[in-house]
């Protein structure tokens, strides 16, 4: 290892350096969904006594391993297959999360570990000692992969190419190990040679340059040869094979687009914009696109909408659209731009370790933001920043913080920086998906904060520096030690910033990167007329979870009669009050125009103002230069002035939200004026619609004139001669298109004094549907019609039910009958003339669920279940599933919950599986503090099994299951379970044994709460606290016990030792034990040892039974255990992948 470089250099956790890898897949069978191939890794030992090589591999069946053409013994051990042992009765999530983090650690390539351990043949030891090259050749196959590679094979007649069958790699973070053995780390870079032999009608798209395509001898297949000469991490390797249509970009010939058959026209339109994104990034980064080519592939059943890999990106085919579609266009362009940003930062430049991930996500997100600003304008950009800020703030306040740069000292549980979370943030694979999304969001916001501090120019210089360093390093073909320059680290990035800008941003980093939490400000003010001073009070809440204390500068903008003034306040420990002198001394001069921040001078009607004060409005942190939430109090007229005259869209949106609390005619007028103003940003106007509806409802008794927005809509969109008829659609002006879509939806939220939707509004919406005419329109009206159905759904109010009568057609409300008529017609028409992305079906399904929920239509999940089946368009399925999830919650249906969970296990589409768990978590059938008939032992076992072993093929899914388990049962043992038999629990990090915290209340004399409530107590305080409270009484001082070491050791093994292949296992879906089928010399040894381990487990089980009887005799028993283990050849001596070697980070010691 290169120690000379000091802290700047990268220290590999591995005792070798990988320089080149060959991946050859010579057979792909779509019918059987199998893959056969080999890999060859070229590695240079960096230590003399390298005798074991650890690689990552999951799912793969490994046939043969050769090192420099010599057969090598190997062992395959994957502890993540089954996180907690089968026979364990533990059901608390804390235990699981720790075990899962330990299991992931045990195979973490960034710690030098791996599932596959290859023993270097003794003949080569001398060779190794001379640090000479080793070539590791591994033959493997993959049969019906459940993750990593996804096969899409439509069930119809014809050849695979005619059917549009395709396969592509997918996964969350580093998931390449799922489809070929590799060092699945972002920090191990090497060059690549990739070969794929596929059917002659298919195309294989992969990373790097396509060197040549050669037919096989029978001319029925062809081989695609790819070379990737830029050192790349295995995690950035990808593959897509299918009968793709090929489109060479007309502007950039080195860019090629691929889509599934029949979609070429859509592909042409969709990608026609991409070259502009290229130009933009290359210009701001003053750096050419690093790879010699770029490929975009659009595939069905995508894992994520956008996945970026070295020199190629895999997109969901659902992003494709024709020129007639308005709404999808900006969304798709955003996806394209995101993917391209990640090509520079994420693919070309990789990261040193997981804790540096935020730099990559931050930079790519930040330059994507710059692209947004340029493409969609400053308003859209600021709106987006505000949206992201609100999201991260809400998430952090809810869950207790997102930490960008976690540092793990010593690995002790106490130092865990994220003890408030129910999962470990040590590894990307243990992370909740939502957390990761928010993590990315925070990362780019923090980049923006850095930009605010050092200026954009310096920022771009830093990026340019990183890129040029990396491209110099990448061209050093034979100096692989240089390649670490292509890895970015937090410290390297910060050093670069301080070199370029000369500014110290350490406080900023400390606040937002090294620390989690956001700032919560409460502001209020008083105007002191005598002193002509604004007395501003800014309080902070830094005690709630997810918050932190802010100390430093804070910008406040005050709009006075004489103009707008910025003040920078120093927020310090104890100062709450800030005096800001006002500029405007004189009483207003009626004729005078009022200057705004942007230099504009406007006339205002100042009659609403407080006569004594020159203040129009005040804004705290207008530039969003703190990750914060501001709750600011100012009077309604100030909000109204802010809405009307402040030019910043964020300020306008804030004012609209604030005005909800002031239902007065003045607010109404301000909102209506904004709605009518064409220069105003369309999103602000859309927001104003909803606020106006809310205000109208609050003012229902004093409201005069027609329903809110009706006359406005009539004026804007209806015919001059016949105001009840809407004009034929013309969506050329997008702003008014969006407004036209939104207004009816907002209007449908209006309620009269009986809390019903006014008849007039309903008839108005029905008329819009009736007279809708799109024949002369250049654009499709599918989104508009879908929103009209949404509007119908919004108008529905709960049915008046007379003593729970059964819902039948006869007692159907006449208004609902009209609505149902429309929905039926729309839904049926969709079968004949389907709309783009079936938006109308989606809206209809949602509306039907609303009718069911409000008691107009009998509640029944059958319809939704039929739409949720595989074979429907994904948006439709998700809408249907959402309805089923909701039904499960409202009707507490065990049957439906089971149906959903079955789908989580069996559905062919990974995104659907993930989404069901996500929806169940967001809209749970019950939560941990709730009594529910659904909450029973079987469900606990089922979910436990799901996260323990049922989801080992998909990190994201497993984390989703953990999230759901947490939502349903909390961190500790679910309350519906009977008391555990096992009296003792281990605190692994402290290496101490305590009584199981869930049974503490029974045995602890001074704690007399009933069992249920203590469970809750345990949940809210957390396992740790319960533990420390009870420590004094319950702790068994094991240090004095002679056998304590053995005891702990054994239990640690239980936890950390991988679930060995060949162990007894009843779960049918986990039938992949690659090693047990390995046809080589290891096989016999292995099968022996697995028998042993069977035996061992069996014994253990018996002991447990005994344990029940003699709780206090464990001392003896563990002695016995440890003795037995010493006898066990598998656990310690013979097997190369013994528990000991897995626990130690490196083999070289």
């Amino acid at each position: 290892m290169n120690r000379k470089k000091g802290d700047k250099g990268f220290e590999s956790p591995r005792p070798y350096k990988l320089t080149h890898q060959v991946v050859c897949i010579n057979n792909i069978n779509f019918q059987r969904k199998s893959v056969v191939g080999y890999v060859e890794l070229t590695i240079f030992p960096t230590v003399a006594n390298l005798n074991r090589i650890k690689l990552n591999s999951k799912q793969c069946r490994i046939y043969r391993v050769r090192v420099n053409d010599l057969e090598a013994a190997f062992i395959y051990n994957d502890p993540t297959l089954e996180v907690c042992h089968h026979e364990s009765k533990q059901r608390n999530l804390n235990y699981f999360s720790n075990a899962y983090a330990a299991a992931v650690s045990a195979v973490d390539p960034d710690a030098g570990n791996g599932e596959l351990c290859i023993k270097v043949p003794s003949e080569l030891w001398k060779h190794v000692d001379e640090l000479k090259v080793l070539k590791v050749h591994i033959n493997f196959s993959l049969d019906q992969p459940k993750g990593g590679l996804h096969f899409v094979v439509p069930n119809m007649e014809g050849s695979m190419a005619e059917r549009g069958a395709h396969v592509f790699s997918c996964g969350y973070q580093n998931s390449t190990r799922f489809w070929f053995p590799c060092v699945d780390s972002h920090s191990e870079l090497c060059t690549w040679k990739l070969e794929y032999t596929v059917d002659a009608a298919m195309v294989a798209v992969s990373n790097g340059d396509l060197v040549e395509t050669v037919y096989t001898h029978d001319m029925r297949k062809k081989t695609f040869h790819y070379m990737l000469t830029i050192p790349t991490a295995a995690s950035n390797i990808s593959l897509a094979i299918g009968p793709f249509e090929i489109l060479v970009d007309p502007y950039m010939h080195e860019v090629t687009h691929f889509c599934l058959p029949q979609l070429l026209p859509l592909l042409k339109h969709t990608t026609s914009y991409l070259h502009e994104v290229f130009e933009f990034y290359e210009e701001i980064l003053t750096c050419r696109y690093p790879y010699s080519c770029f490929k975009t592939v659009f595939i069905d059943e995508a894992y994520v909408e956008v996945a970026a890999y070295a020199s190629m990106s895999i997109f969901s085919t659902n992003l494709l659209h024709s020129a007639m579609i308005i709404d999808e266009t900006p969304l798709t362009r955003r996806c394209l731009a995101q993917a391209l940003a990640q090509q520079f930062f994420g693919c070309f430049i990789s990261r040193m370790s997981w804790s540096d991930e935020w730099v990559l996500k931050g930079i790519s997100g930040y330059i994507y933001g710059l692209w947004m600003k340029k493409t969609f304008g400053v308003n859209e950009y600021r709106h987006w920043i505000k949206q992201e800020l609100d999201q991260i703030v809400a998430y952090e306040l809810k869950t207790g913080g997102v930490l960008l740069h976690p540092i793990f000292g010593g690995g002790k549980e106490k130092d865990n920086p994220a003890s408030h979370l129910h999962f470990s943030i040590k590894h990307p694979h243990t992370l909740s998906w939502e957390y990761y999304t928010m993590f990315q969001c925070k990362a780019h916001l923090v980049m923006r904060l850095i930009e605010n501090r050092i200026s954009m120019e310096f920022m771009l210089q830093v990026f340019n520096k990183l890129l040029s360093l990396a491209s110099t390093a990448s061209s050093q073909k034979f100096q692989s030690h240089m390649w670490s320059q292509m890895l970015v680290s937090t410290s390297g990035f910060l050093k670069s910033i301080s070199n370029v800008s000369g500014k110290d941003i350490q406080p900023l980093i400390k606040q937002w990167v090294d620390q989690s939490g956001v700032v919560k400000f409460y502001g209020s003010f008083a105007f002191n007329r005598k002193r002509n001073v604004l007395e501003l009070e800014i309080k902070q809440d830094y005690t709630s979870p997810g918050t932190q204390k802010y100390v430093g500068p804070l910008k406040v903008t005050v709009q006075e009669l004489d103009g707008s003034f910025n003040h920078t306040l120093q927020i310090e420990e104890n100062s709450l009050k800030h005096d800001i002198p006002c500029h405007s001394k004189s009483r207003r001069n009626k004729k005078k125009k009022i200057p705004l921040m942007n230099g504009e001078e406007v006339d205002m009607d100042l009659s609403a103002m407080d006569a004594d004060s020159p203040l129009l409005w005040i804004r705290i942190d207008p530039d969003m230069s703190v990750l914060r939430k501001v709750e600011f109090e100012q009077s309604d007229f100030m909000w109204q002035y802010q809405l009307r005259y402040e030019r910043d869209v964020v300020a306008q949106e804030e004012a609209i939200l604030a005005l909800e609390k002031f239902p007065t005619p003045a607010s109404r007028l301000a909102l209506t004026d904004i709605l009518e103003q064409e220069q105003c940003f369309y999103r602000v106007r859309m927001l104003a619609c909803f606020c106006l509806a809310k205000i109208a409802n609050s003012m229902v008794s004093t409201w005069t004139g027609p329903p809110a927005m009706k006359s406005l809509f009539t004026r804007m969109f209806c015919c001059k001669t016949c105001p009840n008829i809407v004009k034929t659609n013309n969506f050329m002006n997008f702003q008014s298109y969006f407004l036209q879509k939104t207004m009816p939806v907002a209007m449908a939220l209006l309620r009269d004094v009986h809390n019903l939707c006014p008849k007039e509004v309903l008839m108005f919406i029905l008329d819009l549907i009736k007279y809708n005419d799109n024949r002369k329109n250049k654009f499709s009206d599918n989104y508009y019609r879908a929103e009209l159905i949404d509007a119908l759904a919004n108008s529905v109010t709960p049915a008046v039910s007379v003593n729970n009568e059964v819902r039948t057609l006869d007692n159907l409300n006449p208004d609902v009958r009209l609505i149902l008529e429309e929905i039926t017609r729309f839904l049926n028409m969709e079968k004949l003339l389907p709309s783009y992305r079936h938006t109308i079906t989606v809206s209809c399904l949602k509306a039907i669920r609303v009718l069911q929920k409000n008691g107009h239509v009998p509640s029944d999940p059958a319809l939704f279940k039929s739409y949720a089946e595989y074979g429907h368009f994904i948006d439709v399925r998700i809408a249907a599933l959402e309805a089923v999830v909701d039904y499960t919650k409202v009707d507490r249906s065990y049957e439906e919950l089971q149906w959903l969970l079955t789908m989580v296990q069996n559905d062919p589409v990974p995104y659907i599986r993930h989404k069901i768990l996500d929806m169940l978590t967001k809209n749970p059938p019950f939560t941990k503090n709730m009594e529910s008939p659904l909450c029973n032992e079987a469900l606990v076992d089922q979910l436990w099994k799901l996260m323990n072993s049922g989801t080992s093929h998909d990190w994201r899914l497993r984390c989703g299951a953990v999230d759901l388990y947490f939502t349903l049962f909390g961190l500790s043992r679910p309350s519906c379970l009977p008391l555990p038999e096992l009296g003792l629990v281990l605190n692994l990090k402290e290496k101490k044994a305590v009584l199981n915290p869930t049974i503490i209340p029974e045995s602890v004399a001074n704690n007399q709460e009933p069992v249920n409530s203590t469970n809750n107590h345990g949940q809210s305080v957390g396992f740790q606290n319960t533990f420390s409270n009870s420590q004094e009484e319950e702790e068994i001082d094991m240090d004095t016990v002679h056998d304590s070491q053995a005891f702990i050791y054994h239990h640690l093994n239980m936890l950390e030792r991988p679930s060995t292949p060949g162990k007894e296992q009843s779960s049918g879906e986990m039938n992949m034990h690659p090693v047990s089928a390995a046809p080589l010399s290891v096989f016999s040894k292995e099968s022996n040892s697995s028998k042993h381990s069977d035996h061992h487990h069996h014994h253990h089980h018996e002991h447990k039974k005994k344990k029940k009887k003699h709780k206090h005799k464990h001392k003896h028993k563990h002695k016995h255990d440890s003795k037995e283990k010493e006898k066990d050849p598998f656990a310690f001596s013979n097997s190369p992948a013994s528990a000991r070697s897995i626990r130690s980070p490196s083999l070289s010691d």
């Binding site: 002659a200 060479v248 702003q735 005419d773 329109n777 017609r825 839904l827 009718l851 595989y870």
Partner: protein
């Protein structure tokens, strides 16, 4: 004057019955004759006359004039002419025992009354035969004096028009209800003939939903525009010219309008190509590895 008035009233009553143009013509003549008779009577010194007497005298005058005409026509035809000449009239008068010599003197008598010329009644227009479409002009080989072709509807086709409804509101109303009816009928038919789902367990016919049917390739129907939309696109493309002005006014906040940048680039490309001819050559041959031909395998050396 009184009798003229009475005569006038008589004709008025007669005109009530008269409806055909021939009757009208006859009545107008009668009235002129009556005026003549009345003026002659006045000239002769009568102050008033009974209606019956005037009628009788009118009848006599009419008969006399008719006889002159009839005879004159006979004489003229007798000499093989079609148009009577003055001599024919003279002969006729002589034949009827009228002394022709007295006529100029009588005409120039001093006390004669001048009768205003009877109002010129328009020649009753014969109602046009139904004309539909334009008559075909003669083809060159038919001389111009030949009769024109008859109306095309008599020998080609008869187009029928309904008065177009011009009221916008009615039009929209009609279009909307028509479409709605078609859609409803169609979907009901589909629902009746195929599998359905229902929202109400007790009633399956009021709101029949066509059953959801999974697709083998679901993304195709979801992403590709439907035939109707394609058709519409073609139609609107032709009318795009009119909309062009609208696009220009559009604040390009969301530059979804793809034609703009494309056009720009196209023009840039054109400039480039015009600048350098070599570039043009490159353009034609796109070098992309995916477009290259697939190589033949090398022959195995073993064999």
């Amino acid at each position: 004057m009184a009798d003229t008035a009475s005569a006038g009233s008589g004709t008025r009553s007669g005109s009530k019955h008269a409806s055909t143009p021939a009757d009208n013509y006859y009545l107008a003549r009668r009235r002129t004759l009556q005026v003549v008779v009345s003026s002659l009577l006045t000239e002769a010194g009568f102050e008033s006359a009974e209606k019956a007497a005037v009628e009788t005298l009118t009848e006599m005058l009419q008969s006399y004039i008719s006889e002159i005409g009839r005879s004159a026509k006979s004489y003229c035809e007798h000499t093989a002419r079609t148009q009577p000449t003055l001599s024919d009239i003279v002969v006729t008068l002589v034949e009827m025992g009228f002394n022709v010599e007295t006529l100029p003197a009588y005409a120039k008598r001093s006390q004669r009354m001048v009768i205003t010329a009877p109002p010129v009644t328009n020649q009753p227009v014969t109602p046009k035969a139904l004309t539909a479409g334009q008559n075909k002009p003669h083809p060159p080989h038919i001389p111009g004096h030949f009769p024109e072709f008859p109306d095309p509807h008599t020998y080609i086709k008869t187009p029928t028009y309904r008065e177009p409804v011009s009221d916008y509101q009615v039009l929209r109303e009609k279009a909307a209800s028509q479409r709605r009816d078609v859609e409803r009928a169609l979907t009901r038919f589909m629902a009746k003939t195929g599998e359905t789902q229902s929202l109400f367990k007790d009633d399956v016919s009021t709101f029949p939903l066509i059953a959801a049917r999974p697709f083998t390739v679901p993304y195709l129907t979801a992403l590709l525009p439907s035939e109707l939309e394609m058709q519409q696109m073609e139609e609107t493309d032709s009318s795009e010219q009119d909309d062009q002005t609208d696009t220009e006014n559009l604040p390009l906040h969301m530059s979804t309008d793809d034609s703009g940048p494309e056009k720009e680039n196209a023009s840039v490309l054109q400039q480039n190509t015009s600048l350098s001819g070599s570039r043009n050559g490159e353009e034609n041959v796109i070098d992309n590895p995916y477009l290259r031909p697939v190589k033949k395998p090398k022959i195995r050396r073993k064999k």
